[in-house]
Point group: C2
Chain length 183, copies 2
């Protein structure tokens, strides 16, 4: 995926040029007027695997009210914001998208989504209650027994992979950290 | 840390305004001419703990040739770039800063540096050889026995914390994943 369309300097408004800045080895959008370099780097998407039940036998999924993948099921997740830790961001997204209060657990998956310029990070989490309120980005919350996860209606490959790891680890009786690349 | 000075639209060059975009809940730099929203999110810094010896009894550190913290010792690390996985980025930084070829190991630490708007991720790595060549950002490479790590001359708190976890895990005989927040 190409970097976003950068044609003007964010700082001074002059037109930018694509060139390799001094001391670097790759092209960036550089401002010839004020020398500002507009770096574009991958962003983090943070979320949770919110479960219910002592043995984590039920998982909360959200049906997306917005594009992309409107109508499909996802784990609550979104972009990490300035001013928060990855765990705080994951908890916030869970609250915003599902109206769910969770007790945060360990980091569970870190997946590189290179073409989307993203890194996805999911934490295990336990729902504190099932008083759930879908946010504006969610059509519907639903609690799924693991056997009933709608595998063919999941919104994103990182969600599928994370849920596959979750089911597998739960069957094995131990949750680990999963890394990988989504191509 | 405030977001970077954004005063103009990267896409159309018009002056931006700080406001809450429709459907969101926090202020962003928004272009009133073309509606572009200039999102600012935390970035990832990726690096390695490069070791030598079967029992990882020696660690490679780099003395920084550039600011910030010029002259102090660091683990090789730098910003994750578009087009690479976090492991590829960590390996690239190790090659660029230390001229070191490594066999990548597992992810070892993930540290939120909230005030710097960064997440630091370090992997364990084994040096393939000790034919090392400092890059332009490095004054000097040095192999340190763990007892000789220059604790008072380390460049960054995430480097210190990662090395502390490394020494502690090695003493305990098992390497885990370490998460935390640097305040």
């Amino acid at each position: 995926m190409p970097p976003p369309d950068i044609r003007f300097c964010r700082r001074c408004g002059a037109g930018t040029v694509q060139r390799v800045p001094a001391g670097e080895d790759r092209e960036r959008a550089v401002c010839p007027a004020c020398d500002y370099v507009d770096y574009v780097n991958p962003t983090n998407v943070v979320g949770t695997v919110p479960t219910w039940g002592q043995d984590r036998e039920i998982v909360l999924l959200c049906r997306r009210a917005i594009e992309p993948r409107k109508g499909l099921w996802t784990l609550p997740a979104g972009f990490l914001e300035v001013g928060e830790t990855i765990a705080e961001g994951a908890e916030r997204e869970t609250r915003e998208e599902a109206g769910a209060r969770v007790e945060m657990g360990p980091l569970f998956s870190i997946l590189d989504v290179v073409t989307a310029r993203q890194v996805h990070l999911f934490f295990l989490a336990r729902l504190r209650d099932v008083d759930l309120h879908p946010g504006p980005e969610t059509i519907e919350n639903r609690l799924f027994a693991l056997d009933d996860i709608p595998w063919d209606e999941l919104a994103f490959r990182t969600v599928r992979h994370t849920l596959e790891c979750f089911v597998s680890d739960r069957d094995a009786g131990a949750f680990g950290l999963h890394t990988g690349t989504i191509h």
